[in-house]
């Protein structure tokens, strides 16, 4: 068994996922990650798997490899997610299915498989999901994305209860807009209007997200579960 703590992060090829990999490797974690494509970077202490988070076979194979190699999993960060900014009347069903598949099915699958591995020993584990302020803000143009993340909130709240007997906490962080590919196509006026609705009206940063994750990961946070922390005072 790996004497180091092992963390699995989904969606690590770029953006917040890559940022989190670098952060937690630097903190001494052994980090495993995945994305559909191969990253154009490598990092000592990080191991990458190519997998679609909604592909059950690929996900189970990833967890089998992880268990064989590390024998443990201490934390899962369900970062992988996709969005599509569009009016419902202009949203193809394939877009909705794709968003639900990655954001909901992917989160469900990784939570399930992670809990199986984490429950192997008494240490339990930490699961952190990704919500969004688009859900409580009821953002027009983000119906599919916000609905998918509402499902993630429900999963978080219920899995927190189902996994509690295994000493596994399940929480979620709800970021505001952050400078990543996810919001690249959103018009500036829309973004400004969105940010104006936050208690703290500024763009979020990856450090803001990591700060909440750090809190959920703390050993002392074993009494914190089923919670969603939205950034920016939403």
């Amino acid at each position: 068994m790996n004497p180091q703590r092992v963390m699995l992060i989904t969606g690590t090829r770029k953006g917040i996922g890559r940022f989190l990999v670098e952060r937690y490797v630097a903190q001494g974690w052994s980090v495993v990650g995945c994305s559909r494509g191969k990253p154009d970077w490598t990092l000592a202490g990080y191991e990458h798997f190519e997998a679609d988070v909604a592909d059950e076979k690929a996900v189970k194979a990833l967890f089998l490899a992880l268990r064989k190699q590390h024998g443990r999993l201490d934390a899962l960060i369900n970062n992988a997610g996709i969005a599509s900014m569009n009016h419902v009347l202009l949203t193809p069903i394939a877009t909705l299915q794709s968003i639900l598949s990655t954001n909901v099915v992917g989160t469900f699958l990784f939570c399930r498989e992670a809990a199986r591995l984490m429950s192997q020993d008494k240490r339990g584990g930490r699961i952190v999901n990704f919500a969004t302020v688009a859900t409580p803000l009821k953002l027009e143009g983000e119906a599919a994305y916000a609905a998918s993340k509402a499902a993630v909130v429900s999963l978080t709240e219920i899995l927190a209860r189902e996994f509690a007997p295994f000493a596994i906490t399940v929480n979620a962080v709800g970021p505001t807009p952050i400078e990543t590919d996810l919001i690249r196509s959103v018009p500036k006026a829309k973004m400004d209007a969105l940010i104006a609705r936050q208690a703290v009206p500024r763009m979020g940063t990856m450090e803001d997200v990591a700060n909440v994750i750090d809190f959920f990961l703390r050993k002392e946070s074993d009494f914190i579960t089923g919670q969603v922390v939205y950034l920016g005072g939403v």
């Binding site: 059950e56 076979k57 189970k60 194979a61 967890f63 089998l64 268990r67 199986r116 429950s119 192997q120 007997p165």
Partner: protein, 98 residues
């Protein structure tokens, strides 16, 4: 098709681990009823047992298995009705093309 005896050994090893971890006394015999009236495990016990059995089978056969696929959950004759049924179900699943 995998050797049913080897599958049986996997399941019995998993049962032994389950008994030890949960301080339970599930009799490691084919006709032991697992779930339902007179069953040896409750619903949370089943969750724990499924996890241990899947892990043991994966270790012994080197391939991921899922005891909670739609087929298992919808089967009229649930694979969790007895230890023997569980062994048969796993052997059949391992024998399926991947």
């Amino acid at each position: 098709m995998p050797d049913p005896q080897k599958v049986g050994q996997s399941v019995l090893a998993a049962l032994a681990e389950y008994n030890e971890a949960e301080n339970a006394q599930v009799t490691p015999e084919a006709d032991t009823v697992l779930l339902g009236p007179g069953g040896a495990v409750d619903s949370l016990g089943l969750v724990r047992l499924v996890m241990i059995v899947e892990r043991q089978v994966e270790d012994d056969f080197g391939v991921p298995v899922s005891l909670t696929d739609e087929k298992a959950m919808s089967q009229r004759n649930s694979p969790f009705r007895s230890v023997g049924a569980l062994i048969e179900y796993i052997a059949a699943q391992l024998g399926e093309p991947r």
